[in-house]
Amino acid sequence: MKPKIYILLTFLLLFLSLQLPAQQQRFPKPEFDSGYEQPDPVTPEPRSGAMEYFDVAVLLAVLSLASYLVIRKRSRQGILWLSVFSMIYFGFYRNGCICSIGGIQNVTLTFFDATYAISVTALLFFLLPLVYALFFGRTFCAGACPLGAIQDLVIIKPLSMPRWLRKTLGIFPYLYLGLAVLYAATGTDFIICRYDPFIGIFRMDAPFHMIVLGIVFLLMGMFIARPYCRFLCPYGVLLNWMSKFSKWHMSITPSKCIQCKLCTTSCPFDAIDFPTEEKVTKSSRYDAKKFIIYAAVIPLWVLIGGFVGSKSHTYLSKAHPDVYLAELLIQHPELKDDPDNIDIQTFLASGKTMDILVEDARLKRKEFYTGSWILGGFIGLVIGLTLLNQVVYRRKQDYTPNRGDCYSCGRCMDYCPVDR
């Protein structure tokens, strides 16, 4: 008997609440005679905006110091301690948010979502490391990035990886960057933040699987130096481009390379380019032919990539809640009667019709179609250029850091016997 009354009462009240404006009270506020003072709800303020600007100042200071330490001072020790500081400050103290890597998504969202505009501090976090990389190389990776620092500290016995493997795995950051932009632009998700493997460690609190992922990355990082940086980091792609053309990149030797080969094994990231051998020079004509062929097929790569990308748009779009829900309801209409499916029940109660949902999902999917065409074409271009790069002949005499891949960590400098 009792439950029945309650159900009835619920319906009655629900009905009433639909009739009344949302603010109307069912039970009037009492008039107190006892002099009772009504308390205010406690609403503690968020971290103040000034503190966010302070973070930008810290970033600026760390970037400048890192550039000074590695280029002028040539001190690996200094860089090491600076990166420890950044790991503690940006990682463990600031809990990893906001970071330059995630900033990619905020910038993207600013251009695609009219209701959102990036905050100045987040924009600076995104831009400053890139500007520094354009002048000094990836000093951000060496001294300021908490993710880089934590990986750098666990390197024990780095294994050298064959070039082809590095180049192949090196495609992944581009894919990750492309996907992150696609998902941010369509308002689906911030995948860089969601799958950040180290944030759980910085916060010392995260879902179990994310902690496991972080630990796996660190264990792997003992032998494969900086695995996230090299084969995933989407921001690394941008830094790599900037650093390639940097004005004052660090060099291994303080003056002139004497070809002693002492530094060759010093880089845990295989980022040192060796001098070209004489016999390669002889076959350069053959390379020129290859170069033309490889360059000519790049448009083909772009087309293939775009085609494959557009084929996967249905799959990629499933991550968007509207598309997911519409698909679920079309394929399993019986789920409408499942009281435990919160998403479906909420949708049914919201008063939104099925037609509107399906139309929304269709439009989203269209966005994904365009987006994945571009994403695929971009990846095709990257593959084509990577292949082309393999046959480009660059004359080199000395042992030099590869400007794109080098993190400016400064390890190799200590191996060079040449005095200043």
């Binding site: 009492p30 831009l127 916060r203």
Partner: protein, 188 residues
């Protein structure tokens, strides 16, 4: 020969630098022209929330940064509180088995006949929204959830927002970080 190669390399580098510099400069200016000086934080629209319970489980923090807050202004100070007592409670007392809240985070205090005050103990609240559901369906809806900003780490993307079925969690300006019922009304 050497010199020439070096010069060429320097030239390529310079033009590359200029191009990239212009590219990020352009991007920066475009973004900056829209950028806001203030920061963003995440907050729950209490009028949209349908008390699904995910706030307790989906926050990256444990216990969640979402807590129940009490808009006293709207409260009826009822003895038979829909947010405090289980619907099938056999008496109106503070006995734990009668309470809706799984952690007994709501403190009930007698004020004067027949009114009772309900205060949330934030330390104990896990943001499960059980009381909110009770209060919204049977009472005035004065109990509701908010993201508490001294706990929240302000994730770049709130992981509850992503799974909130009613799309109630949105970025709001840090200067208006709370949407407390009564003082904050539903945008039309």
């Amino acid at each position: 020969m050497e010199k020439k190669a070096e010069n060429r390399r320097e030239f390529i580098r310079k033009s590359g630098r200029l191009t990239l510099g212009l590219a990020i400069g352009g991007l920066g200016v475009l973004a900056a022209s829209r950028a806001t000086a203030g920061e963003w934080v995440w907050q729950i629209d209490p009028f949209k929330c349908n008390q699904c319970g995910r706030c307790a489980t989906e926050c990256v923090l444990n216990p969640s940064a979402v807590k129940c807050i009490h808009a006293f202004d709207l409260c009826g100070y009822c003895d038979l509180c829909g947010g405090y007592l289980k619907p099938d409670a056999n008496e109106r007392s503070t006995a734990a088995e009668n309470q809706l809240c799984p952690t007994s985070a709501i403190e009930r205090k007698f004020i004067e006949e027949p009114y009772f005050e309900y205060v949330i103990n934030e330390e104990l609240c896990i943001g499960c929204a059980k009381c909110v559901k009770g209060c919204t369906s049977f009472g005035n809806g004065s109990l509701h959830l908010q993201i508490m900003h001294h706990i929240c780490v302000n994730c770049n993307e709130c992981s509850i927002a992503r799974v909130c079925p009613s799309d109630a969690i949105k970025r709001v300006k840090a200067s208006e970080a709370y949407q407390v019922k009564g003082s904050w009304s539903k945008p039309l």
